[in-house]
Structure formats: structure tokens, C-alpha cells
Amino acid sequence: MSRIDVRKTYKLYIGGQFPRSESGRSYVVNDAKGRLLANAAQASRKDARDAVVAARAAFGGWSTKTAYNRAQIVYRIAEVLEGRREQFEAELRAAEGVSAAKAKTYVDAAIDRLVWYAGWADKITQVVGNANPVAGPFFNLSTPEPSGVIAVVAPRGALLGLVSVVAPLIVTGNTVVVIASQDNPLTAITLGEVMATSDLPGGVVNVLTGSQSEIAPWLASHMDVNGIDLTGVEDAALASELEVAAADNLKRVRRPAPDTDWLLEPGLDRMTRFMETKTVWHPIGV
């Protein structure tokens, strides 16, 4: 008799732990051919709020780590992902129905993207900050700082898309609450397992699975969220509604771009959009 598989329970990833949704709800996730893959947790408003609390709690420690340290941790995520690449390739083939070659391309690109962003941690300040030659006896320096807690609606690309929106936010010191692709949420939770074992402090990345249109409005209107990245929002009406809600505390907003080709090399914009410029003055004298 053949061995019976031990299946995985897919839960949420909040504050470094893997809780079920407090609502007790789940939803069916099928593979590309319509066969059952697993039941995913269907996150609620309360889960979203818990995730924001975890992200806020993690922000102080994460944003004040040295840039070198953040670089090593993001690089470590790439290392651990490389070690588990067969699992991710298999998941992508099952969930998205892509060929083995395509799955390998996506995993390669996701790992390489993490390495690319890791290197930015201790360089972005040098590239986008500068000294200002004011007309007076003052030292004057502008440097970028992370905006804070950022909510992200992830695009469809279950691995590469997700990595491409999350990595640029955390490498600069932000903490993140990400709503995984509604149709392909399982890889996001598996990626959570990678992050949980990569020295990434709990709460820096929090992953919610479930209904985008149910969870995103709570995050868009949450007064302790500093920015929202709408990249994965495909419904224009929902995107407008979220942008309106985000104005309540003037969140920094990145508008939708669901059709982005994630295989192309990114620019700096995904980092700089959620950074603030701080300018410090001090008199020069004797």
C-alpha cells in the first residue's frame, strides 16, 4: 500500500507566527486545473488589525538595525529560498500551471531579486540622499528614512510578484502587511516559512490570505498604517475606494500596476516611494 501524504495546513503569517484566522474561516484554493490544492485561511478585519499591531511593534527594531544587518537578513532569505527551490518550483507548477522551465525561471528571478534588493540596504541612502549647500554657515544633510508600516496588495505572481513588492519595502526598514494574491495564496505562506527561518524578526513581514476586497479597505483606512501599495488591485473602482480611504491619514499611495512584467529589472521607485526625506540643519561655528 502506498504511503499517505502528510498535507500542510496553510495558515496566516503574523508577528513571526502562523495563526489560523481568528474568524475560523477558510476558502478553497484550486490548482490551475481546478482540483483542490488546499484550504487557505480567510483573514478577517481582526486579523488585519493584529497584523498591523505586529508590524508596528517590529518597526522600531527593524528600522534602527544597521543597513548592513538588514542587507544580510534579506540576503539570508535568498539563501534559504535557494535551498528550498524544488519545493517552490513544484508549488508554482501546481498553483499556476506553469511549465517546469517557467517555474525555474520565476524561482531564479525571485532569488536574484532578493539578492539585488539586499545590496541596496546600505546604498540607497548614498544614492538618494545628499548634502545641501545652503547660503549660510550651516551643516545641512538630507537622508531617506522608511515611512513606517506599509500595507501591500500583492499582484498575481505568487512568488516573483510577491518578492518584487515586499523586498524593496523591508530592505529600507519599513515593516509590511501584505495581502497575498487571492487566487494563488499558498506560495506566500510557504515564503513566510522561509522568512521565519531567515533571521527576519517576527512582524517585519506579515502575510494575510483571503478576500482582497474584504481586507484591503480595513488596511487602507487604518490610522496606524503609513502607506499602501495597490500594485495588485485589478478592480479600478476598488482602487479608487482604497485611495480615498487612504487619505484619512494621508497614507503614501502607490497606484495599481497589476500587469507589471516582474521579470524586468526594477528601478529605485519601489523603495523610494515609501521613504521620507529628513533634512537636518546645524550651525557651523567655533
Binding site: S240, L250, G267, W281
Partner: protein, 479 residues
């Protein structure tokens, strides 16, 4: 006030300005009639009516946007950066040439002391145009690309009328955009004089359009479908309304909004300088400054001494005729603003804070409020949380650096902050931990065209000034 500080009157001459009885809108290089209900602008120091000003209705705004679009498509976006630069340099030079006229007009329309309009506002306006002129042909080195956005709709406040105009128009034009700008309804005159300066500079028609009016005119600009970029300086409330209005569009937005800055004084601070910094922080421009140091956080061990010195210094501030060259504190910009300052101060009394104000004779006409401070203020008091936008300082105390940081950051705003201490490592640590866009250490309220200005959190987004200020008016290298 003691007699030894009495000064003979030293009024600046008004003869240098020629205020017309009425003003139209500046659209496509010409002054035209507006179709809204004309309004009056008054001298806030005397309540004298200065002029009648046209109000732009939706159709007028549409004309202005069309003129800006034509100028963008046919002229300005096609012109080389080097040529655009020359126009901006011309404007900078004419502002310097007509500096005294602009300063006097600014003080008459706004109420600010001539000392400030002459020595701060107008020189910084000229410097701003000079600075951004030089960027026009160097944008490919900016890090933000060199592609302009198109037509910029800009709405500015009354506290630094011409300076805010410069912060908006200079970078927009340098980057190749054309503009439709609305000055505040209580301070339109220097913007209209600026329109004349554009004519003197032979700036192509439609590159700069100035439309006057109040909130409705501003809304028409912000919501106009052919405006590619919205830039606003003003209240957080209106900023939020603008953020909602542009939702779902492709408009790029920058917002420079309110603040409630902490000015933190440690026990080892150089107190003479700190007192000057506190006074400059809150009484400069009658406290009508979004980055004003309106919350003084003073370390408990020196609180008594700082307060005693501060009161003594405040008692020497000379309040009165804005055009008098000895005046330190001028008039409140409008009756409406005076009402708000009075109301919030009364809330301060009612919530149990203790009011102290400079004993002085206020003029019988005009809008005046004496330099005031409140002690015994707690974090929960409205005067510690809300922007008063007037010459009112709330004083709180702290014991440790961590407590100072916690109190300073405990606000939805994040525009500016001040730190006073002789210890270098403490300055840098405080500067790192303060969540604010501008941190002044052992100084306050310093502005320069090369230095980016703008807030964190509900103080808005985007930066004005410096290389960073270009980002607001360019498409970017990627996105």
C-alpha cells in the same frame, strides 16, 4: 514695556508701491476679467480695503488650464532647458530689482513686519528662482529623469504669499511644466505683481497663469481633468480633501500641510541662543508658519530659568505697524484667523493651562494678538495637539531624552522639530529618532532653496526645495 526700549517710528515708505483699485485674472499672458464674484483684499493692520480682486469661476479656470496646456505643448516643453533657464534667471533678477516694492506690498497685504518681508521672504524668493533656473538644463543629472508632467495646478497659502509662489512656480517651470496658480484670497497682491514681472521678463504667454479666488476656485483647479499635477500648501484638512479628489486619477500630488513642531531644550543647551531660537520658532511671522516650534519641550531642571528668560525676551518684542522697520511682530493675517487663535487659546484656559501674554497696547484697528505662552500644558490638551497657526506657545516639560522623543513624536503631524543641546552625540541621536521632515539643531526656522522641505505622516508628502524638490515635477526614471 520699559521706556528704555522705546523707539522712534521708522516707517518704510509706501510710495514705492502702486496698488490698483481692481485686479483681473492673469491668463495667457494678459489680465482679463473674472466671471465670479469679485472680492476685496484688506490691510490686516488697519482693515483698510486695498483693492478689489476678480474671482475665477470654473470657466475661467478652464481658460487658464487651456492656456497652460497650449503653452506647454507649443512652447515650453519644446524649449531647451538652457533657454527655459534664461527666463527663470530673468525673473530672479527682476525680483531682486523690484525687491523693495515686493517687500512693502507683501507687508501691506499680509501684515508681516517689513523686517521679515525685506530680509527673508523676498531675498529667498529671488534665490529660489535663481537656484531652480540652474537646474533647467541639468535635469538629466537629477536622478529623476528630465521628462516634465504637463500642466501643474498649484494652490498656495497666505502666510508667505510670494515665497510659496516661488516654491511652486520655480521648480515647475525649470522642469518644463506650465502652471495655473491660485494665491490665497487674503493675500493675492504680490502674486498679481509677479504676473507683471512675468510680462516684463517676456515669459511666453500661458506658461504662468494666476487665478484668484477662494476654495471653489481651488477645487476647480485640483479637479480639472487636464491638470497633470497638483501641488498644495495649506491645512491638513484641505490636503486630505485633495488626496480624496485625485483618487483614481493619474494626477501626481504633493502636499505640504500642517505641523505641531516640538522645540526640545536640554539642560546643557546654550540658553541665550536657545531663547532666541524659541522666540524665532514661534513668533516669526506671527506664528503663521506650518513648521513653527509651537510646542516647547524643556527639560525639567532648566524649565524655570528658561521660562523666566523667555518671558523677559518676549517683553522686548515690538509689536505694531508692519511697515515700521523696528517692528518684530506684525498683524494677524485675517479676522477669521484671529478668531481661531482666540478660540483655541480660550480652550487652553478652559482645559487648565496657564496663560501668560506680553503686556502691550494693541492697535485699535486691525487684527492683533499678543505673543502668548501657556504653561502647565499636558499632551492631551488641544493647544498641545492642534495647530494654532498664531503667536501662541505651549510649554511642556520632560526629564529624559526618551521622554522628549515620545512626546515630540506623539502627534499625527511630522513637519519639523528643534533640538537644543551642546552634546553632539545627543543631537545626532535625537535627529535620528524625531519623525519629522526637517530637524533644526541649535537653530530654527531656517530656509534655503537648496534644502528640501516637507513632512512625514499627516504633514503631507513630497519635498519642496533642493534636488529633491525636482521629483514633484518630473516623470521619474522608472515607475
Amino acid at each position: 514695556m520699559s521706556n528704555i526700549f522705546e523707539y522712534a517710528p521708522a516707517p518704510e515708505s509706501r510710495a514705492v508701491v502702486d496698488i490698483k483699485p481692481s485686479y483681473g485674472l492673469f491668463i495667457n499672458g494678459e489680465f482679463v476679467d473674472g466671471h465670479g464674484k469679485a472680492f476685496k483684499t484688506v490691510n490686516p493692520a488697519t482693515e483698510e480695503v486695498l483693492a478689489e480682486v476678480a474671482e475665477a469661476d470654473d470657466a475661467d479656470v478652464d481658460e487658464a488650464v487651456k492656456a497652460a496646456r497650449r503653452a506647454y505643448t507649443r512652447v515650453w516643453s519644446r524649449m531647451s532647458g538652457a533657454e527655459r533657464a534664461k527666463y527663470l534667471y530673468r525673473i530672479a533678477r527682476i525680483i531682486q530689482e523690484r525687491g523693495r516694492e515686493l517687500a512693502v506690498l507683501e507687508s501691506i497685504d499680509n501684515g508681516k513686519p517689513i523686517k521679515e518681508s525685506r530680509d527673508v521672504d523676498i531675498p529667498v524668493v529671488a534665490a529660489h528662482f535663481f537656484y531652480y533656473a540652474g537646474w533647467a538644463d541639468k535635469l538629466e543629472h537629477s536622478g529623476y529623469g528630465s521628462t516634465p508632467l504637463g500642466v501643474a495646478g498649484q494652490v498656495i497659502p497666505w502666510n508667505f504669499p510670494l515665497l510659496m509662489l516661488a516654491w511652486k512656480i520655480a521648480p515647475a517651470l525649470a522642469c518644463g511644466n506650465t502652471v495655473v496658480l491660485k494665491p490665497a484670497e487674503t493675500t493675492p497682491l504680490t502674486a498679481l505683481l509677479f504676473a507683471e514681472i512675468c510680462q516684463q521678463a517676456d515669459l511666453p504667454p500661458g506658461v504662468v497663469n494666476i487665478v484668484t479666488g477662494a476654495g471653489d476656485t481651488g477645487r476647480a483647479i485640483v479637479s480639472h481633468p487636464d491638470v497633470d499635477k497638483v501641488a498644495f500648501t495649506g491645512s491638513t484638512e484641505v490636503g486630505k480633501a485633495i488626496a480624496r479628489a485625485v483618487a483614481g486619477t493619474d494626477k501626481k500630488v504633493t502636499l505640504e500641510l500642517g505641523g505641531k513642531a516640538a522645540n526640545i531644550v536640554f539642560d546643557d543647551a546654550p540658553l541665550d541662543q536657545a531663547i532666541e531660537g524659541i522666540v524665532n520658532g514661534i513668533f516669526f511671522n506671527q506664528g503663521h508658519v506650518c513648521c513653527a516650534g509651537s510646542r516647547l519641550l524643556v527639560q525639567e531642571s532648566v524649565a524655570d530659568e528658561v521660562l523666566e528668560r523667555l518671558k523677559r525676551r518676549m517683553s522686548t518684542l515690538r509689536m505694531g505697524d508692519p511697515l515700521d522697520k523696528n517692528t518684530d511682530v506684525g498683524a494677524i493675517n485675517s479676522g477669521e484667523q484671529l478668531k481661531r487663535i482666540r478660540e483655541l487659546s480660550e480652550v487652553g484656559d478652559a482645559e487648565g493651562a496657564e496663560r501668560w501674554e506680553v503686556a502691550c497696547d494693541l492697535p485699535t484697528k486691525g487684527f492683533w494678538f499678543p505673543p502668548t505662552l501657556f504653561t502647565g500644558v499636558s499632551q492631551a490638551h488641544r493647544i498641545a495637539r492642534e495647530e494654532i497657526f498664531g503667536p501662541v506657545l505651549s510649554v511642556l516639560t520632560f526629564r529624559t531624552p526618551s521622554e522628549a522623543i515620545e512626546k515630540a513624536n506623539n502627534t499625527p503631524f511630522g513637519l519639523s522639530a528643534g533640538v537644543w543641546t551642546d552634546k553632539g552625540s545627543r543631537i545626532l541621536s535625537m535627529a535620528n529618532r524625531l519623525r519629522a521632515g526637517v530637524v533644526w539643531a541649535n537653530t530654527f526656522n531656517k530656509f534655503d532653496p537648496t534644502s528640501p522641505f516637507g513632512g512625514y505622516k499627516e504633514s503631507g508628502y513630497g519635498r519642496e526645495g533642493g534636488r529633491h524638490g525636482l521629483e514633484a515635477y518630473l516623470k521619474g526614471e522608472d515607475s
